[in-house]
Structure formats: structure tokens, C-alpha cells
């Protein structure tokens, strides 16, 4: 029996196989599973990803026994799921499906309180819990509790689906393409919100998707399944991107996996450049000009608290002039240490000055990130790609488990004065140009 006081449980597949005989095969029958073994630690998100027919949905449904395995066991906190009472098992596992499956004839509050009602909670407590959960997923209970599902947008319904799955505080959640039925912008927001939520919930989550980008973003662990239901690779997303275990996995994660790794790495993982700075109120010196003679010809003007004020181009510096009187450009872009490199690169490519000012919480300057610095990481990955599959890869990012980060303040005006480095521009523009989805909140296992 899992201890109800614990918020998460482990999930372990042990040689789980599901074959369908001809009688069971009908339209829409999900794929078979072949000798699947994997263990998900408590409180982690494990994403099952693969092409259609790879058995990822089947694997998920075997956990709450909507499908019974042909062979093998699934252990929840060490206890065989097959030994549990069916309805009791299911009521203890949160379940979110792609089409959400809200009950059209029940109000949103009633929908959310489904499992609590099945568990026999009194009406007042159910109501209270439903309102609490609606608040948690960002829906005002005063507005939404009494509505019917048909009155909600697709994104709102997905949120209600998540709230409903969380209602009885289950230690395990199963999510089958939970954000699949909404447009990409809403999906991205729902993903970010869910990751933020998971930081405090720390549920054990099995998450099915066919989208490798979603898998990399959402997963602490990613299980890549191949057609026929065999496990092709299981590990943290960085490891799967850096060293795919087989040509199938390499193909599945895509030839742009170097770029994909940018969304796994954070500004804090890079070696920051020390900026050449000068205090407001001082004058330009020959030392300043000397220090800026290298590849990065911008002086960063800071205030008494080391907070950025403006950029001054080397060409505009005259020794002996007051720095405030020199023409300058705004001290942008500002980057949070926890911003992903994907976001940072996207912002840098749009900025006047091709360096991001990395600041801490109090906006004190920590250092600079340049496009060239990010390109360095790209090159490391490219070298790993060269040895395809066996490469050790770059640093692969690690354990920044904090969250709530976002990319820094505004962007500088476009149409900058600094010519872009074409060698660096190309990959950024070709791959993940749009970017700027400002998030952070993943809790990665390193």
C-alpha cells in the first residue's frame, strides 16, 4: 500500500509485454509493447515518446489497467498494480487525456471534483477542493466553477483536465498528450505552467507525446520507444540528445539536436565574459580604450550598485570626456541566469549590441553572454555529432533545478549598429529563430 502521506510514488515497468490477438485488434487499438523495463523515481516526469504505433499509449494505460499486460509487472511504490483493486487503483492515479474528456453535462466544479465524489468526500469539501484546484491552474473559480465545458476554450478545458486529475492529490499522474489538442502558443504556455506547478507538486508523472521537442522540454527522463514497442533509449534528455543510442534514436531526435540542446542549457552554464565597465560620473580613460581594443568594442556604463545603465561604443570614446555626455545605446538586452540558451540566442540576434548582460535578482551585472559564446557550445555538440552515437558530447547542462526564470527585460531596437557575425547568425536563424518563449521552470535531473 503506498503511504497516502507521500506525495509521489515510484513507477517501475518490469519486462512488460502487451500483444494483441486477432480478436482484440480493432480500429484504434494502440500499439503493442515488447519487454519494456524502466523505472521512474518518485517525483520525476518521465516522457514516453516515439512514432505512432510504438506502444507509448499502451504502456501508459497499463499503469491504470485500462489495458492489462500480457506479461510482466508494473510496480507502483513496489506493489504490483495487478494485485490492487481496480477502481481503488484508478482513483489513486491522476489521468489526463488528449481530448480532455470533460463531462459535458457537469459543471467545471463537478468535473474537477469527480474523484473526490467517487471517494465519498462531503459536498462542502469537494467544492472547496475544486475551487482551490481551479485557482491552482489559473482559472478564477468565481468565473468558471459554475460553467459547463462547452463554454470554455480549448486551453481552458485542458487546464480543467489537469485540475481534475489532481483533485484527490494522487501520487502518480498519467498524461496522454495532454496538451496535444491546442494551438502551439497555448500549448507552450500550458507546458510552462505545468512545469511550474510540478515544482511544488512533485508528482510522479508518466507523460506521452509524439513530439520530441515536448519530450525534451517536459521530461526529467525520456523513454524513446521504437515501432513494435521496444525501448530504444531511456535517460535524461541531455543524454539522449548528446549521445543517441542507435541510428533510430538519432533520426527520431532529429539532425538539429545540437540546436535542441540549446533549450536544455541555461545562461548560468556558460562561462560569462567579464565586461569592461565604468561608473557613471567618471571620465573616459586610455585604459578603457585599450581594454576595448579586442573583439568586443563596447563599454558598459554602470551605476553605483553595479547595475547596467548604457552601452558606449569604443569609437565614441574620447579620453577625458564625461561618460554621460558620450552618445550611448540602452543597456539591453538583460538576461536572467536561468534563461535557456535558446531564448538567449534568439534575443541576442535581435539586439543592437551582440552581448546579453546577465544580471542577478537585484540587476547587478554578473557578466556578458555573446553569440560567439553560445556558438562555442554549438560547436562542441557538432563535434559530438561527428562521432554519432558514441560521442561524449558537451557539458549537457545540469542540475539547475530552480525555476520561474524568464529572459530579461526588453529587447533593444532592431536595426543595430553592430554587424552580425554571419557564421553565428546562420544556425540561429535557420533553426529556432522565433524563440522568446520566456520560461525556465524545469527541474532537470542533472
Amino acid at each position: 500500500m503506498p503511504d497516502p502521506a507521500r506525495r509521489a510514488a515510484t513507477v517501475a515497468f518490469e519486462h512488460v509485454t502487451k500483444h494483441y490477438d486477432r480478436r482484440e485488434l480493432k480500429r484504434g487499438t494502440p500499439g503493442a509493447v515488447n519487454d519494456l523495463s524502466l523505472a521512474v523515481p518518485a517525483g520525476k516526469i518521465c516522457v514516453l515518446v516515439g512514432p505512432s504505433g510504438c506502444g507509448k499509449t499502451t504502456s501508459l494505460k497499463m499503469v491504470n489497467r485500462l489495458i492489462e499486460p500480457t506479461a510482466g509487472r508494473i510496480l507502483l511504490d513496489g506493489e504490483d498494480a495487478a494485485a490492487r483493486d481496480l477502481t481503488e487503483l484508478r482513483r489513486g492515479i491522476g489521468y489526463v487525456i488528449q481530448q480532455v474528456g470533460l463531462f459535458p453535462h457537469e459543471t467545471i466544479a463537478e468535473n474537477v471534483a469527480t474523484v473526490p465524489r467517487l471517494l465519498g468526500w462531503p459536498a462542502a469539501r469537494r467544492r472547496e477542493r475544486a475551487e482551490e484546484l481551479l485557482g491552482l491552474v489559473g482559472l478564477d473559480p468565481a468565473v468558471y466553477a459554475g460553467r459547463y465545458p462547452v463554454q470554455l476554450s480549448g486551453g481552458e478545458r485542458q487546464r480543467v483536465g489537469v485540475a481534475r486529475a489532481l483533485a484527490a492529490d494522487p501520487p502518480i499522474m498519467l498524461m496522454d498528450e495532454p496538451f496535444g489538442a491546442v494551438d502551439p502558443i497555448v500549448r507552450e504556455r500550458l507546458q510552462d505552467e505545468f512545469l511550474r506547478l510540478q515544482e511544488s507538486l512533485a508528482k510522479t508523472i508518466l507523460f506521452v507525446t509524439h513530439d520530441i521537442d515536448e519530450a525534451i522540454k517536459m521530461g526529467d527522463l525520456v523513454a524513446v520507444l521504437a515501432e513494435g514497442g521496444a525501448l530504444a533509449q531511456f535517460g535524461p534528455p541531455a543524454e539522449i540528445l548528446a549521445s543517441p543510442a542507435s541510428p533510430f534514436v538519432a533520426r527520431f531526435v532529429g539532425s538539429d539536436r545540437g540546436l535542441k540542446r540549446l533549450s536544455l542549457s541555461r545562461v548560468a552554464d556558460l562561462e560569462l565574459l567579464p565586461p569592461v565597465t565604468a561608473r557613471v560620473g567618471t571620465t573616459a580613460t586610455e585604459e578603457h580604450r585599450q581594454a576595448l581594443a579586442g573583439t568586443f568594442p563596447w563599454l558598459l556604463l554602470v551605476d553605483g550598485m553595479e547595475r547596467p545603465v548604457a552601452w558606449i561604443a569604443r569609437a565614441d570614446l574620447r579620453v577625458g570626456t564625461q561618460l554621460e555626455s558620450v552618445p550611448s545605446v540602452p543597456a539591453l538586452p538583460l538576461l536572467d541566469r536561468r534563461a535557456t540558451l535558446k531564448d538567449a540566442l534568439s534575443i541576442l540576434l535581435d539586439a543592437d549590441v551582440h552581448a546579453g548582460i546577465v544580471v542577478d535578482r537585484t540587476r547587478r551585472v554578473l557578466g556578458l553572454v555573446t553569440v560567439a559564446g553560445i556558438a562555442g557550445l554549438l560547436r562542441e555538440t557538432a563535434q559530438a555529432d561527428g562521432t554519432d552515437g558514441t560521442g561524449t558530447g558537451g557539458d549537457g547542462t545540469g542540475g539547475d533545478g530552480t525555476g520561474g526564470a524568464s529572459t530579461g527585460a526588453g529587447r533593444a531596437d532592431p536595426g543595430g549598429t553592430e554587424p552580425r557575425d554571419p557564421a553565428v547568425d546562420a544556425p540561429g536563424a535557420g533553426g529556432h529563430g522565433a524563440g522568446g518563449h520566456g520560461t525556465g521552470a524545469t527541474g532537470r535531473v542533472g
Partner: protein, 214 residues
């Protein structure tokens, strides 16, 4: 061909009694028919291979001309309410069984899957999810069956029942058109009233079906 209003005024009690009789025959037929159809429909929904035989049998009953059916039954059950109701119930089955099954078929699959996955028992799911969601289609079938039955009750006048049918039959035999007109008008009024009552019941039971984006 004038209407004898004085006859109507003098026979309000008889007209009311015939109307009530008609109503009772209709309600029994639809009520019993619905109960049978619910059982048969649920069985056909649960065990799909049963649906063919059940629908086939109901269809067969439906094709027997009503007069012939009553003629067949009279030697067994006599000129009785039972004879009338056996016939009337038989005719509701096709409409109602189909209504129950297609209503249940129309329940969104994802709602059923979510209900199962969250730990509903099969019975709880049927009562709380599937039947409520099947209700609009089922009520539509009940409305159709009710109006059809009101018409068929007329025919049972030939075996001594018939409510308003009796009124019409007697008027016809006596060449007294006022009675025929009264029978027609009262039965149409009855049909409209029952239909409206069913619509009202449905609106009461399915507030969600009227909810639209606010």
C-alpha cells in the same frame, strides 16, 4: 356540416373521460415500452451482437399492420386493455430501442474513457455519465413514440378501447361529424401537450445542453 356546439357543451364529461382514457392508454404503452426498451437497449449496447436480433425483432413487430395484430391477439387476450397495450407497446419498441442505443452511442468516447480511467465502476459510469449524456437522443425517441402512440390508440377503438377513438367511431357510425371533429381536435391537443411536457422535462434534466459560450 355544421358543428353542434350544444352537443359539445352538453357532453363535456364524456369528452373529458375519453381524453383521459386516451391519455392513460398512451402513457401505459410508452411507459412499458420505454422500460422494455431501456433493458433491451442497454443489453444491445453492452453486448453489441445482440443489437441485430433485437432491432430485427422490433422492426418485424413494427411492420405488422395494427388491425391484423389486434385480430391475432383477440382470440388469446380478448377485447381488453391488455390486447390494446400489447399492440401499442410492440409498436413503440423499434423507435425506443433505437433511441436508447443511438443515444448511448452518441456519448463522447473520451468522456467514457476518462470516467473509466478515473475509477468509475461500470454501473456508476452508466448512471452518472452515459445515460445522462444519452438523454437528449433518448427523449427525442420518446417524443416520437408518444405522438405515434396517440395515433395508434385510435385504432384500438375497434377492439373496444381507444379513448377518443371511440368517440370518433361512434360519430362516424351515427353520421354525426361533430363527434369526429371533437376526437380529432382533442387528440391533436393531447399530442401537442405531451410533446411540450416532454420538451420541458428534457430542458429540466439537461441544463448543460443549453449552455453555450457566454
Amino acid at each position: 356540416m355544421t358543428i353542434r356546439w350544444d352537443w359539445i357543451a352538453g357532453n363535456v364529461d364524456e369528452i373529458a373521460a375519453a381524453t383521459l382514457d386516451h391519455l392513460v392508454l398512451t402513457l401505459i404503452a410508452v411507459g412499458v415500452g420505454f422500460a422494455l426498451s431501456l433493458v433491451l437497449g442497454l443489453a444491445a449496447y453492452r453486448w453489441r451482437p445482440l443489437y441485430g436480433p433485437i432491432a430485427g425483432l422490433a422492426g418485424l413487430l413494427y411492420t405488422i399492420p395494427s388491425l391484423a395484430l389486434f385480430a391475432i391477439l383477440v382470440p388469446f387476450t380478448g377485447l381488453s386493455v391488455l390486447t390494446a397495450e400489447i399492440g401499442l407497446v410492440s409498436y413503440t419498441l423499434l423507435i425506443l430501442v433505437r433511441g436508447v442505443v443511438s443515444g448511448l452511442d452518441a456519448v463522447p468516447r473520451d468522456a467514457v474513457e476518462a470516467a473509466t480511467g478515473m475509477g468509475y465502476t461500470a454501473r456508476g459510469r452508466l448512471a452518472r455519465v452515459e445515460l445522462p449524456l444519452a438523454l437528449p437522443v433518448i427523449v427525442a425517441a420518446v417524443r416520437l413514440a408518444t405522438v405515434t402512440t396517440i395515433g395508434l390508440v385510435m385504432v384500438t377503438a375497434l377492439i373496444g378501447e381507444g379513448g377518443l377513438g371511440q368517440l370518433m367511431l361512434r360519430g362516424f357510425n351515427r353520421s354525426f361529424p361533430t363527434m369526429v371533429y371533437v376526437g380529432v381536435v382533442a387528440s391533436v391537443a393531447l399530442a401537442v401537450a405531451l410533446d411540450l411536457a416532454l420538451v420541458g422535462l428534457q430542458r429540466l434534466l439537461t441544463p448543460w445542453a443549453r449552455a453555450r459560450a457566454a
